[in-house]
Point group: C2
Chain length 341, copies 2
């Protein structure tokens, strides 16, 4: 591996000062055509590529942003990540993605890492499992950095947030089921600690109350496919043939809806003839299930984009909106059918 060439090498070869080389690399228009050419050819000859590490120091910015999500293998997040990456790319930022696995401890560790790496800002999906109060150390770190929250709010923090109208989405999902004639609607709920889940649960309950429906039932599956699968496998046989049997399910995300679908296939329960299911998220493949899943679509890619835009404005101290709430959309497919009585 041959030695990397530096700005000094280029300067020497071109017969100019390092400052001039720096100018040619960063603001070519302010240097005379003539010198610019000389430098350019020296750059090419040495195949010089500037060392951004060195550049970052005096500049006091890295053009990195950190992205903390629960888990990249959770398909919900990959579109979001891509949205973040694409906008970053456009503005010359790079993204450092880490997985908190919804653990507060990991979240804290990564925040420290990101700080240590001096990222210009962080986009954070707060970890779901909150052991206790927000630790002091983490909170003070958060205050030192440019932060934009995404997807989940966090009590006692006033960072800008980009989220989806979870309440409204859930509300419209349940309203839709009611409109289709369902009166016994089970709720497959997500991680209890998360604001997201609380809001969706709120939408569920509000829609029921508004329609004077007293029947309600919740099963918790932490937003996870296999947990939902297990819960249904356990629960359904118990209530089969009783009047506890729901005619519809509102799942707080598609993953759980798909888990339920899988369980029903195995239990030989027909969807939507025997139970209707509606999900939340509209993840990829939710249109490839059998039957294709009716769901509430979230604009995940857009969320990622908005979050970065906000963050970049925050970094460059422009005016920003503190609260961006995107709307959901009902996607009618085939997992919900009309139920008479």
């Amino acid at each position: 591996m041959k030695k990397k060439s530096t700005i000094y090498d280029v300067a020497k070869k071109a017969g100019v000062s390092p400052s001039t080389v720096s100018r040619v690399m960063n603001a070519p228009e302010i240097v005379a055509e003539n010198t610019r050419q000389k430098v350019a050819s020296a750059v090419k000859e040495l195949s010089y590529i500037p060392n951004m590490i060195a550049a970052n120091m005096p500049r006091k910015r890295t053009n990195y942003i950190g992205l903390i999500i629960p888990d990249i293998t959770n398909i919900f997040f990959s579109n979001l990540v891509r949205g973040v990456q694409d906008v970053c790319e456009k503005y010359g930022y790079s993204v450092l993605v880490v997985n908190s696995d919804d653990s507060q401890e990991k979240e804290g560790r990564y925040l420290k890492l990101l700080y240590s790496r001096r990222v210009d800002g962080v986009i954070l999906t707060v970890a779901g499992y909150q052991e206790e109060e927000f630790p002091e150390e983490e909170l003070s770190l958060l205050k030192k950095m440019n932060i934009v929250l995404i997807d989940r709010e966090i009590n006692g923090m006033t960072a800008p947030i980009v989220k989806v109208n979870n309440f409204g989405g859930a509300y419209s999902a349940v309203k839709y089921l009611l409109k289709m004639g369902h009166k016994k609607i089970l709720h497959l709920a997500g991680i209890e600690g998360t604001k997201t889940n609380q809001e969706r649960r709120g939408g569920y309950l509000s829609a029921l109350i508004e329609s004077h429906i007293n029947w309600k039932k919740e099963l918790n599956a932490d937003f996870r496919l296999d947990a939902a699968y297990q819960k249904i496998m356990n629960y359904w046989p118990q209530i089969k043939n009783s009047d506890e049997l729901p005619t519809a399910i509102f799942a707080a995300n598609d993953l759980m809806a798909i888990g339920a679908l899988k369980a029903f296939t195995q239990l030989k329960v027909q969807v939507p003839e025997e139970v209707s299911i509606i999900g939340f998220d509209n993840i990829p493949f939710s249109d490839c299930t059998h039957p294709p899943l009716t769901t509430i679509a979230q604009p995940t890619y857009l969320m990622g984009q908005r979050a970065v835009e906000t963050l970049i404005n925050l970094i460059s101290k422009k005016r920003i909106k503190k609260f961006i709430e995107l709307e959901t959309e009902l996607i009618e497919r085939d997992s919900v059918s009309r139920r008479e009585v």
Copy 2:
């Protein structure tokens, strides 16, 4: 935002030199218990977190690795990314992930970016669409960096590679179809330029030849779900009722298999009664399709892990295996049925 404290601040507060603080942070065992304590409490008091940017310069390493994949929203890669991240985390590296969208031009640009950011090494899934010869500039960049290839080989480059036995996997998939009595097997192929696709195609052809089957047919869908869907939607009606009609399909990846499945649902063609389908990859959700997809499993997470381990050994100049080929596994589910002629 209050001023960040530096190693000098800590040194002053603790009444020692910056060198000593540096030692406490990096090799505490070589400094006297007494001074270590003084420094530690100064660190805590100022809540000092070292600036890794500054540290990287004299050290000449960044503890970053770059990861170039075609597209993070392609679900096949998320497990791989996670494998990379988890091992990196263990060894104190951070990962910079970028999407080439299978474009050679983007790949080149990102390589340059990664070089500029002075990552310690790069894990690269070579872009599928190769316009022409590998550009000189990119090649010389590759030679300057520590590179580990993943998934796809590249002609005329001798970097270590971690891949899957594509030939063997495809071969066993087609052998399995033959064993189930199928004699007309269509191949849904991926991006032609990729070695991966060539190998899988090779496995398909070899299995046929070995069984003295002359019937063959290929449709190309670039590894993409929607392309596969379209191809089937166009092709099937044309050949319906002719003896061109295949009884089974070997798709070069699950995405295309799922696209085909979707088309067949729409065309009211029963799977597996009328056509059997076998995929490749075993992506998440391939067990949630209808019917659950029989497929060839790739150990993607493991591939990511192996790639990083190799890269880290390469970086630290340890001995490495130049060629790591992982085995596939046939996952029998319900999309293939026996066919008695």
